[in-house]
Amino acid sequence: MSTVSLPQDESRQLAPPSGRHPADPHGRPGVEDALPLESLRIVPARHPGRWAATAVVAVLLAMVVSSLVTNERWEWDVVATYLTWPSVLEGAWATIRLTLVASVVGFALGTVLALMRLSRSPLLQSVSWTYTWVFRSVPLLLQLLLWYNLAYLYPHLSLGIPFGPELVWFDTLSVIDKFWAAILGLGLSQAAYSAEIVRAGILSVDQGQQEAAASLGIPRRRQVSRIILPQAMRSIIPTAVNEVIGLLKGTSIVYVLAYGELFYIVSVIYGRNGRVVPLLIVASIWYLVLTTLITVVQYYVERHYAKGAVRTLPPTPLQKARWTVLVWASRLSGRPVPPSVPPAYAARARVGVLTRTARTAGGAA
């Protein structure tokens, strides 16, 4: 009856030692009691509570989907039109640019501030502390407006010797345009938060690591860049990505400078055509897409820095998918699992074969 033959050695491997059989439910000692364990039918556990909860959530989901489809006020056709509208794409690109540059500025400066805070010089420590205090305290919106009005305080900027002659002159208004005012606002306040994140990461690395590096005579800068920071990254990355995502959405605040990022662009469009909700949906979809991209990048960056912290790296989603397909293929075809599949996955296929054989055998008996 069974088309799948279970190899003898495998069945011995999987079955518990025979000799002790569960008591017969009907109190009839005899034929069933003598059956070997591996021929018994396996009844999976039932979960009525889980089924009920699943049904409730399924109904709720159906309601949401149906309202999304049937409520015409969502105006999905308008959403579809504006999703790839050239000026919306430009706005999305501006948002990406702002996020990238502000992240780089924020984390570069934040790392410097963290190292200053951990240095042995009291002046460097207190400057770093004060910076963090000021930039975490003043609202971002206010900072943006202040930077944009820098020309009022300093009409001209110049490079030169401190307290000495000036060598190069700039007109503040020509240097600090909307983009750079936004970068200054976003980046400098981001630095204050990043500094604390990087500092926490550095503190999380075992003191022995720095000692070992020092005992080997490794230069100070190399100790930080090669030994301490790579290990700190493991605890820095999750929080840092949180910050980058916060920054991505935070760029929408730059609309106060009338800079053409995503949110400013859609607000201009709905100001003109009055389709407020569909255009807000357009912006939401774009923020969702960009956040998803960041999350995917985070996964792989975290995996990179997990080297050495775990014995075996967790599989990527692609690997998982491939192995699952191979395991199912072998369960259905009865052929052995290819050796490229790790044992933990391959075992699932064997368990499947066992229960199937057991059921058919039990049914026959």
Partner: protein, 267 residues
């Protein structure tokens, strides 16, 4: 061990690794951990430091490597002061970079291994010769592989520390310290964090290093190792050297009551 391997780690003839410690004091807060320690370690000798925990053994070892700055007294390696430079009648404190330079002559093996977990065994060994001694990676790598082979881990070059047992990790740590070709090698309880069955493999490697003529100072509780390998056994208690001598003298015929009491407890 094979001849070419020995060449990479044996110090050049003449440069020997004489460690002199004069009246060293060290306090942590109000606790005085070292209270006037003087000790001379002969070049190429193996010195085992014994003593109850809190006796200052580890602090003394860390002071030799200037991981701890002493409050009073001096330590020198081959007549060169650790952490200072003599200029006429003044002693100038060395800058961090110069101290790091001095440390490349003194290897240190930690109780908790302190391997760099994100680097492979080979990268752990290669790192310091390249970044501290500015040697070329291509020259260092074959040497590093030989060192790993010497500690019995030729096949683990690409493994990361978490994939190795404690004994294997400590052997990599010894290879890492040897890669700098130090004159003096300091071991701070190298087997205390290991399962009993792994202690032997690490002690074998230390014995092998001892036979190459590098000066070794080993803080340990392994009395058997001291008896077999040490030229000198030093017993410390409460921040001072209580007595020192050959293993036979100190371990079998201790002159001080405190030494006797300690040995009775650990044997």
């Amino acid at each position: 061990m094979s001849a070419p391997v020995t060449d990479t780690t044996t110090p050049a003839a003449g440069a020997a690794g004489l460690v002199e410690i004069h009246g060293v004091h060290k306090s942590f807060g109000t606790l005085e951990v070292l209270r006037g320690v003087s000790l001379t370690v002969r070049p190429g000798s193996v010195t085992v430091v014994l003593g109850p925990s809190g006796s200052g053994k580890s602090t003394l070892l860390r002071a030799i490597n200037h991981l701890e700055k002493v409050d009073q007294g001096f330590i020198s390696i081959d007549g060169e002061l650790v952490g200072y430079r003599r200029k006429g009648s003044t002693l100038r404190e060395l800058k961090e970079r110069e101290i790091l330079g001095q440390r490349t002559q003194i290897g240190f093996v930690f109780q908790s291994f302190n391997l760099f977990p994100h680097l492979t065994a080979l990268e752990n060994v290669v790192e310091a010769p390249v970044s501290a001694q500015r040697r070329r990676r291509e020259d260092v790598e074959p040497e590093a592989r030989e060192l790993l082979a010497r500690v019995g881990l030729a096949d683990k070059a690409d493994a990361r520390p978490r994939q190795l047992s404690g004994g294997q990790q400590q052997r990599v740590a010894i290879a890492r310290a040897l890669a700098l070709r130090p004159k003096v090698l300091l071991f701070d309880e190298p087997t205390s964090a290991l399962d009993p069955e792994l202690v032997g493999e690490v002690l074998e490697v230390i014995k092998d290093v001892a036979s190459t003529g590098t000066t070794l100072v080993v803080v340990t509780h392994e009395i058997g190792f001291a008896r077999e390998v040490a030229d000198t056994v030093v017993f410390m208690d409460e921040g001072v050297v209580v007595e020192q001598g050959t293993p036979a003298e100190v371990l079998d015929h201790p002159r001080h009551e405190r030494t006797r009491a300690f040995l009775q407890k650990v044997l």
